[in-house]
Symmetry: C2
Subunit: 382 residues, 2 copies
Amino acid sequence: MNNFTYRNPVELVFGKGTIAELRRLVPQGDKVLFAYGGGSIKKNGVYDQVRAALEGREVLEFAGIEPNPRYETCMKAVDLCRKEGVGFLLAVGGGSVLDAVKFIAAAVPFQGEPWDILAKHARVEAALPLRSVLTLSATGSEMNGNSVISRDETREKLAFYSPLVYPKFSILDPETTFTLPPRQTANGVVDAFAHTMEQYMTYPADAPLQDRLAEAILSTLIEIGPKLLEHPHDYQLRANMMWTATMALNGIIGLGVPQDWATHGIGHELTALYGMDHGQTLAVVMPAVWRFKFADKKAKLAQYAERVWGVLGTEEEKARAAIEKTEEFFRLLGVKTRLAEYGAENAVEQVPPRLAQRGVVLGERRDIGPDQVREILRLCAA
Amino acid sequence: MNNFTYRNPVELVFGKGTIAELRRLVPQGDKVLFAYGGGSIKKNGVYDQVRAALEGREVLEFAGIEPNPRYETCMKAVDLCRKEGVGFLLAVGGGSVLDAVKFIAAAVPFQGEPWDILAKHARVEAALPLRSVLTLSATGSEMNGNSVISRDETREKLAFYSPLVYPKFSILDPETTFTLPPRQTANGVVDAFAHTMEQYMTYPADAPLQDRLAEAILSTLIEIGPKLLEHPHDYQLRANMMWTATMALNGIIGLGVPQDWATHGIGHELTALYGMDHGQTLAVVMPAVWRFKFADKKAKLAQYAERVWGVLGTEEEKARAAIEKTEEFFRLLGVKTRLAEYGAENAVEQVPPRLAQRGVVLGERRDIGPDQVREILRLCAA
C-alpha cells in the first residue's frame, strides 16, 4: 500500500424526488448556465423538474452537448459564459454533459488557449463553480474531478483532472434513468465495471481492503447488470446501479494502489477514430489487455476469478477463466467484444502511430507503448 | 435503499513520513492549540515530529486528554482557547483526543452551557477549524463529524454530530501505531468491526453494494486482526488497519441503509459506569444484541456467516454460527465477551434505569427500550 492523499468535497443528494432539492441547494443571485444534451431530458420530465426548481432564478440554457462532448461545442458555451457573466454552471445529464461542464468551468477564466488544459496539461488555476443533476449511471463524473473532451479537428479525445472542477453537489435521482435505451444502460454497466478494473486488475500490492472493495463493486455489477436490462423501471435496481457507478470512480477504491488505465487510453482512440461508444471500446479492449499482460496480471486475475466468479482450479486455470467470464458478461449485456463487430479492424494499424505521436505509454508498469498497443489490438480484432 | 445525502470534506494524507506535511498544510498566522493525550506521543517520537513541523508557528499546548475524554477536561481547553484567541485546533492522538477536540471546537463559540450540545442536542452554529494527526486505528473520528464525551459528575457518556467538526485534514501515518500496546490494538480491531456491524447487521434492504462493502471491511479485519497482534511493527499490516478503520466509519458503507447502534448505546453505559474500554463493551454487548434480536437479524446473520466466514448450512445454522464465529474472533484477539469477566454483572440492573431516565430507545427498528436492554445484558452476563 502506497502513500496517498484524498479529498472529495462533493455533496451527494441521492434518491427519488431529489431534483426538487435544487431550489434549496442552488445559491440565490448568481446567473446560472443550465447545460444539457440532446433533449432526452425534455421527454422524461427532468427538464421540467429542473426548470420548476430554478423558478425565480436567472437561467441561461445551453443545449446540444453531444456524447463524447466536443471542444468546439464547449467553446460556444465558454463564449456565452464570458459574455453573460454566468456565476455557476448546472450540468443536467450523463457523463458527457458533466465532463463538458467541467471543461467549460475551467476554460471560462483560463488565460490563453483552453485546449492546452487537455493537450498540454496546462494548470487550471481557477474555475467557475459547477453543480450537477445526473441522468445516467456510468462515468462517475458526478463525484470526481475528471473530464474527457473530444476535438473534431484533430480527432483527439483527451482527459484532464483538477480539484477545482468537482461538482459542489450532485443530485442522483435513479428515476431519471428509467427511460434510458438498453444500449446506454449496458454501456453504463461496462463503464463502471471497467473503471473498477483499471484500479484493481494490476498486481498484488498488499492492499486487501482496496481489493475487496473493488470486488464488492464487480460482484454487484454482475448481479444487477443483466437484471437492469430486463427490468428498466425497477427503482431498486436503478438506485443500486447509480450508487455503484459512483463508487466505481470517486477515487476510494484506488487509493494507495497501482492503476492501469491502458484500456481507457486505447479505447479513447477507438471512439475518436470510429465513433464507437465508450462502453463498447472498453468491452473490446479490456480482455485483450489482460491477454497481452497475462503473466503480469495472472495473480490478480486468479483472485478475481475465485472471489467474484467462484472459479476453482490452478492459478493459470482461474486466470484464464477470469478473462472468459468477463467477456461472456459483456456479451450477455449485449455489448460486442471484437473490433470486427464494429467495423473497426483498421485500428490495429491506425491507433499505434497516433499514440506514438503523442508519446503515450500506458499500463500500471508504464510499459505499453505503440508496439504493445498493436499487439493488444490484434488480440481483439476478430 | 433509502434516499440519502453525503458530504465528507476531510482531506486524508496517508502514509509513512506524512507528519512533516503539517508544515505545508497548516495555515500561517493563526494561533494553534496542539492538543494531545497522556504523553505516549512523547515516547514514540510523534510529539517531536509535530513540533518540528510547526516550527515558527505560535503554538499553545494542551496535554492530558484522557481515554473517554471528560467534559471537565474539555472545558479547561475551551477556557484556554477563549482566553488566548486560538485560531484552530490540532488534535494529535487517537479517537479520544479527536473527539475531545471536536467538542472543544464546537464549545468555544457556543452561547450558553456547552453540555447542552451533548445532553440536549443543542444546535452547533459555529466551530473553530480543526485538524488531526491520528495515532490509533479504531474510531474513524479522523474522517467524520462524530464525537463522544463523558462527564464525571453525572457518569454519562454522550455523543453529538455536526458537519462543522469534520477535520480539515487528517494525517494518517501508520508508523505512529507501531508502539501501541496489544490491548489497544485489539480494541481498535473490535471497534472498527463493530462500527461496520452497526451499519450492516440489520435486515435486508435492497442494498447489495452497501452489504458487500461492509463485508469487505469485515473480511479484512478478520484477516489482519490476529496478524497485527503478532507483528505490531509490520508497516503494511498497520497501514491496512488504519485505512480499514477509517473506511468503517466515514459514512460510506451506511448510506441509504438502516442502522442499529444499540451495541454502542449500551456499551457507552458500561464505560460510564465501570470504566470498561470502549472496545471491550462492544465485544460483550454485540453478540448479545444479535442473540436477543435473532429473528429480526437472522437473514443478515446468515448472509454474513456465508460470505465472510464461508459457513454453509440452513439459514438458522448459518445465523447461529455467525454469532459463535464473531465471539470467537473477539476472544482470539484477547478481548473478553462477558460482563462477569470485567466484574460488571451489576449492569443488568444498573443500566436499564439510566436509559429509561433519558428516554433512550435503540436499534434499527427503535424497539429496544430499557426492558429489552435488561434482557440483552442478561445474555452476556456470565
